[in-house]
């Protein structure tokens, strides 16, 4: 009798903690919040906070908290943060994931813990194909897609002698292979540089000597700022137009300024898109943070609302992971991209646009949509994903 009571008393606190854990939704957001690449990570943090405040601090009707973790753009730091979020914070979702290198490093760990992982930027090809998982969703795009759009555009406009460059890491190789999938002209040179390199004068001199018709690059964040500035500094811009992906965005443009004027960048989202939800987001973001959000922010904003829709669908039962995954697959939330759906591999089906840098009336540089390159575009790897076959 006595033993039974003791047992019940011992179990009581266990029930208590379980109940309180289910009362609150915890989202872990891992991105780069310090150093030169924070220019991409900070808008992710701000957009997540904005989304949560627009939802009245609640996710799916439950009180919610976002735990932020700075990966310093290092895969091992990302792993540490994920470990902490899984074990100590006991988060229900992990999102963020600016860099493909960080995402690939934490992937097995998070998926293995059966925690839903939603990348708000990185989309390495492995995860769209063979390594896809029910627990993983990519909110942004598969890495190859924006370059595919740019390659498609260049060939359509008879630019057939292009010099290509990217940093030597997972996403860099994805971007170039995506570009080559649609671009069938001559590759004047293909160069991979050290990740995080500051100075590109040696490479820029090589470009000038090769005399291509155009240059295509992928240099995200701080690397992009350096490259775009130095490309203009060496006087190449007026002779050889610069086409890029994830290199010119409202964040980096603040530093690139006139050096980026006239450059082209392909993306699935830009702040000037004529989509009601997107304009609502841009207006609310600009009002709260006083700067124009880049695509990294817009996607994170979508990710928080996607999580909200999933928790709503299961009526706050966070242990019903199957239910939440099924709800996420429906993409039943208002997206800044207007029409938005998930493919069978949990990667988006969305449009891709060409943007160009123009000077606005107030003398600032801004990205302006020129045309739609792809409509409802799917990535090239979905057929390799086991989830597609079933």
């Amino acid at each position: 009798m006595k033993a039974k009571w003791l047992l019940a008393a011992g179990l009581l606190p266990l029930f208590a903690t379980h109940a309180s854990a289910a009362d609150k939704v915890k989202i872990g957001l891992i991105t780069t919040l310090s150093g030169p690449e924070a220019v991409m990570g900070n808008p992710m943090r701000d957009s997540a906070n904005l989304a949560l405040s627009m939802l009245g601090g609640k996710i799916g009707g439950l009180p919610a908290e976002i735990v932020f973790g700075d990966d310093q753009q290092k895969p091992d730091m990302g792993r540490q943060q994920a470990e902490k979020m899984l074990k100590k914070d006991k988060v229900n979702f992990i999102t963020g994931m600016l860099g493909s290198n960080v995402l690939l490093a934490v992937y097995r760990q998070v998926i293995g813990a059966h925690t839903i992982l939603i990348s708000a930027n990185a989309g390495p090809h492995q995860l769209a194909g063979k390594m896809c998982s029910p627990y993983f969703f990519a909110m942004g795009s598969q890495n190859d897609e924006a370059p595919e759009a740019m390659g498609h555009y260049l060939i359509a406009h008879h630019v057939d002698d292009v010099y290509v460059m990217a940093p030597n890491y997972a996403a860099g190789h994805d971007m170039i292979s995506g570009f080559k999938r649609t671009y069938k002209g001559k590759i004047a040179g293909e160069v991979y540089t050290t990740f995080g390199q500051h100075d590109y004068q040696a490479e820029i001199s090589q470009i000038r000597a090769a005399k291509p018709k155009a240059v295509f690059v992928f240099y995200p964040g701080g690397m992009g700022i350096q490259f775009v500035k130095q490309y203009a500094e060496f006087g190449l811009k007026k002779d050889i137009p610069l086409y890029s992906v994830y290199t010119v965005d409202p964040g980096t443009l603040k530093a690139e300024r006139e050096a980026a004027l006239g450059n082209y960048d392909a993306s699935f989202w830009g702040a000037d898109l004529d989509i009601a939800r997107s304009q609502q987001y841009v207006a609310a973001f600009t009002k709260k943070y006083h700067y124009t959000p880049p695509n990294y922010g817009a996607v994170t904003f979508d990710a928080i609302f996607a999580i909200d829709s999933a928790v709503k669908a299961v009526h706050g039962d966070l242990s019903n992971k199957k239910g939440m995954i099924a709800a996420l697959e429906k993409a039943n939330f208002p997206s800044v991209r207007g029409n938005f759906a998930f493919n069978t591999n949990h990667f988006p089906i969305e449009n891709f646009y060409l943007f160009t840098v123009v000077k606005t009336a107030d003398g600032k540089e801004s990205l302006k949509k020129r045309e739609t390159i792809f409509t409802a575009h799917k990535d090239a790897y979905a057929s390799e994903c086991p989830m597609t076959k079933k």
Binding site: S34, A38, Y192, G222
Partner: protein
């Protein structure tokens, strides 16, 4: 062939920047026998104060003395406040203390200026390009870096080889105890040498600002390169630092430009794409290892008696 000349020019610009960093480091190490890992922090202080002053006042000419003064003042303060207690300690204590300083300075700039990087622009009067090699206009700002760097190298040579104080510095580098016994005021000499090194690091930092990213921890990567330079050149030797800095600048630039095409000759293209940048970033360390193996004292060590 012209391209090779252009790349040599690029290498010269990088080398000159490295020299400014390495000169201070080699003086401090050679004369005071102190391993100063905080040297990169002085570079960062120069870059930050210059960039911030430039952004605030829109005057680069005002930002230059501000950056120099800040680096100089920081140098003198840490020499008097911290380094004087370290001279008699062994190298491990010095490494620990100065590494701690680096961490402190990195966080200090985060507290003062935030964790976002600052992107200063090139001043208007140096914004264009200059045609030196036909068909390859060179940015005027980078040309200015080369000119300033070479002028500073010449000035340093004159001070060290031709003036009385330079003689004392050389004496200190060759034999500190003897120099002190002969009446040189070692305490003042140390402060002056350290201040000079801080000034040079600050100069390198403020010139790097407009073309590189001004961010917390920016001094760490160039500090490593500066150590490579002084190890190759011979610790304590300004002449060695100069030649080694230019050599490292050339080797790094040429590696980045030509290693990938070279590997492409005998490797499949994907392997060459991966190995090219990887080996290019290792190249100078390979050279350093070779120098250490065949000539551990460096290429131009100061004469010791």
């Amino acid at each position: 062939m012209l391209l090779l000349l252009v790349q040599a020019f690029n290498g010269l610009q990088f080398g000159v920047m490295l020299f400014l960093m390495a000169a201070g480091l080699t003086l401090v190490f050679g004369i005071m026998n102190v391993v100063n890992l905080a040297h990169g922090s002085l570079y960062m202080v120069g870059a930050y104060v210059c960039a911030e002053t430039y952004v605030a006042t829109h005057s680069f000419l005002l930002a230059i003395p501000a950056g120099l003064l800040a680096a100089l003042a920081t140098g003198v303060i840490i020499e008097i406040g911290i380094f004087r207690a370290l001279y008699t300690r062994d190298h491990l204590d010095q490494v620990l203390a100065t590494f701690g300083l680096t961490l402190m300075f990195n966080d200090l700039v985060r507290i003062i200026w935030g964790s976002d990087a600052i992107y200063a622009t090139v001043p208007k009067f140096l914004a264009g390009q200059v045609v030196i090699i036909p068909g390859a206009p060179y940015p005027a700002y980078r040309l200015a870096i080369i000119v300033v760097g070479l002028a500073v190298a010449a000035l340093l040579y004159l001070i060290i080889a031709r003036t009385r104080y330079g003689m004392i510095i050389r004496a200190g580098a060759s034999n500190r105890v003897m120099a002190g016994a002969l009446g040189a005021n070692i305490v003042v000499l140390y402060t002056v040498v350290f201040a000079l090194g801080a000034l040079l690091a600050g100069l390198a930092g403020l010139m790097a600002g407009p073309i590189f990213t001004v961010a917390s921890g920016m001094g760490d990567s160039i500090l490593i390169l500066a150590f490579v330079v002084i190890v190759i050149g011979g610790i304590g030797s300004i002449r060695g630092a100069f030649i080694a800095a230019l050599a490292v600048g050339f080797i790094d630039t040429m590696g980045r430009a030509y290693l990938r095409p070279l590997f492409g000759l005998f490797l499949p293209s994907t392997a060459a794409d991966n190995a090219g940048p990887a080996v290019a970033s290792m190249l100078i360390y390979i050279v350093m290892a070779a120098v250490l193996f065949f000539r551990p004292q460096g290429l131009f060590p100061p004469r010791m008696r």
